[in-house]
Symmetry: D2
Subunit: 268 residues, 4 copies
């Protein structure tokens, strides 16, 4: 499926501030970037990084004053397979070495502390895809999607207590529970069609059967309408903008639209 994405960030920087920005879709095997453009309304020399493991792209620069950063692109995300109950769980010994970090607790996903709960709650479920689907079912049943309960510092532990949060919190708790069950899991930022209201979206993916599978634990947007941006251990790794000094987000907009099959010109 082809998707058109327009994302705009407006920030204010009181001083000359180094930033790292991750809003460009990843160069990963599950999607093709048909065309794209990055616009910054201020002259800035940019360094561009590509992460070999995840395909995540980031650019670095030094910004000051009020700055608008816009990404526009057309992405073909192919045909994404939905996680199914039979997807096989690997023994640790079988995992590729680059997958191992996603077994470990991280700042917002302190999975070690949730081990006792996870093992008690999910031990009866068959290993693999079924266990991950059970984790998502549990989230749907026990956690409310509510704005205002959590913030950018909220951990999976706090969401486990609060029983409420937004997409970031649902993903963090899903990741923490998966890792507590010895399943490699990581945070993924995406552009998602059909999300209302449109916004950056946080989901997660698990490694089963030799591949990563995208899952939306909020069930607010279909996986086949998602464009992958960045992947990492948790939200700390995949921030849209990381800055070396205090800064203020003045505004951000995201538009994602599915493109008609009858638009061959743009895909050419």
């Amino acid at each position: 499926m082809k998707l058109k994405v327009v994302a705009t960030l407006v920030y204010r920087f009181d001083h000359e501030t180094p930033v790292i920005v991750a809003i460009e879709p990843a160069r990963s095997p599950d999607q093709t970037i048909v065309s794209e453009q990055l616009l910054i309304d201020q002259p800035a020399e940019l360094i561009r990084d590509l992460d070999a493991d995840t395909g995540m792209r980031r650019f670095r620069g030094v910004l000051s004053g009020q700055v608008s950063i816009q990404y526009q692109g057309t992405i073909d995300n192919g045909t994404r397979r939905l996680l199914h109950a039979d997807a096989r769980q690997h023994a640790w010994a079988e995992l590729p070495a680059e997958v191992l970090p996603y077994l470990l607790p991280s700042r917002f996903c302190p999975s070690d502390n949730l081990m006792r709960f996870a093992q008690r709650e999910f031990s009866d479920i068959e290993a693999g895809g079924a266990k991950v689907l059970a984790v998502v079912d549990w989230l749907q049943e026990h956690v409310d999607y509510i704005h205002g309960v959590s913030n950018a510092q909220t951990t999976a532990e706090q969401t486990f207590i609060d029983r409420a949060g937004v997409c970031r919190d649902f993903s963090h708790l899903a990741i923490a529970l998966c890792r507590a069950l010895n399943l490699p899991a990581r945070a993924v930022s995406v552009y998602a069609a059909d999300l209302a209201p449109p916004d950056f979206h946080a989901v997660f993916e698990v490694y089963l059967d030799g591949q990563w599978w995208l899952v939306d634990p909020t069930r607010l947007a279909p996986v086949d309408g998602m464009v992958r941006i960045a992947a990492g251990r948790d939200a700390a790794d995949i921030a849209f903008l990381t800055s070396g000094n205090f800064c203020q987000c003045l505004n951000q907009w995201v538009e994602v639209s599915r493109m008609e099959d009858s638009e061959p010109a743009q895909a050419a």
Copy 2:
């Protein structure tokens, strides 16, 4: 300098448990492994991983019951340069991409929360090596080296409040303060000669002037007597043993001794 290391871990696993073990010295440019041996008193099929970025070695296996793991090795750690005040701080744009993750907050080093303090306390110090040395001086003056105040869950924030901790806590707080000052910093586990009592030791390193510099914020052991084991964002990444189920450490011993220059036979 040549150093002889013997490290022994004894663990109990109630069930068949997957583990990842990082006790072998890193294959890094600053040290040469002259000879070594890994002994496990239980038949175990091991997978061996080598991290391209840090040279960290880990092995994976499945263990059960009471198990003793012993590493013996002779390592030549060459001539390590001590961090000096003039080591130049890089702009973010100059950093190698693989260094960027060490600018970010992590679980035990939530540097974002300490930004205001760090900038207020250290803004008058010149950038680069001088700033790192000022951070270590601050730790020496404001934090007591005391056992029993902290535990394996203690973060740099808690140590900043408690004003007390052990080597792991000193390193975490040093790392958090460096990152809050836009300096890439990471946790390093080492074998250290002259440490009393002998034990695994936690230090940190900063990236300045195009290289990583080892620093011991506790000042309990000289950097030139250290053998590097693992490096990562914080203690979560460089645990000696990560297990997929509850387990119990029954005992651990470490011996590190400087070898006489008059022992050429062993180095041959």
Copy 3:
């Protein structure tokens, strides 16, 4: 000095909800209530409580739907003495029993964890009033008054890390540091003249020389223009409104004005 206070709270309760409200000035020796009126735009049977120790008044009732609660009063707060450096610190053995709870750590003022810092930082200062004034000086120098860094869950520990907060945070950290120095201290909510913008204000008081002394660690409002409302261990005890179910604060206004001495009619 005579002060006129008008305070209005507007809340929404989705269900019939029991509430405890503390917005009426305390009946304490340091102030006289000249005249007052409580208005609730909904018929509600109220229970009225008076705390013998602090003079704090609270009313209880069951509310539902959108409710406006208004307090209007004229209060004469006499002549409040300002804390001076020579105010004598009591040994624990000399303290009245009802003062003892204010030596203990509490939810937002976990003074036990700050003991090491407090003793290191303030040990050279003479005991008593001078020590409290040194704590307030330290806050002025090391903590920024900034909105948006803290929230209703923020503890004195977090403010000690963040080095930023609002009146509630300044008071919590001041209280925690005083208790860590064996000085009884408690949180006080007040109406404050000359506060810009007008709002409920949080300050603290310490027990020295046989009496409680009001102190504003933010230095945003003069102590002689304050009307005392409630006192307790920390913000949890002196909330304007405690509810037995989720509710939403739609709005709140506070007006406090100094009355001319030439207005004898109103005081009659």
Copy 4:
């Protein structure tokens, strides 16, 4: 039932240190102190406090060096009624004013954060005693009694995550859940017959049907064999020993034995 209690605390104080000690049984309507003796192996002038609300007794003094404090007593705890499912829950408006503080969140029992969980989990259970018994059943089913997971800083939130703890943790979580359900609940320290191994024990009580009811959420000791010591919001209020400086507990022993009815001499 008559119970004989011997409790011994041995502490070391490096400096002259003010302390508050709560190891004497409460003077409460549900128990009679037949005979008792307090022994301190160091001359110390003691101040004695009696809390009018809870009957809790405490003594204050200044101690230094190594000190042994021993309490010996014979207590008749009458016939304690066990909490039953029909005990009626009061509306907030009906509660005595002195019970209100036990509705509020406190340091180790932050009930506000557990409101969503508590209401979701226990909303179907009838109000009153049945709800409290359901909370205790839930604890028995979902939390493991294990030493070493928690420490003196552990909150009910952490125990809710860890799903493991000791008597103090069980009580804190039970209290937090009760308060989240609008039930007044408080922490109680007791001497308990039949506890193995003998030790100080932490339980809780709820206010229903016009009285406080003792409940042991660990189910490790029978309520009719308990001697009440102190009651408060949580463990911070009922510590055996609160000190104004760092100190070290060297040892503590507790012996509690049921006395034969055929021992009238001792009760005389």
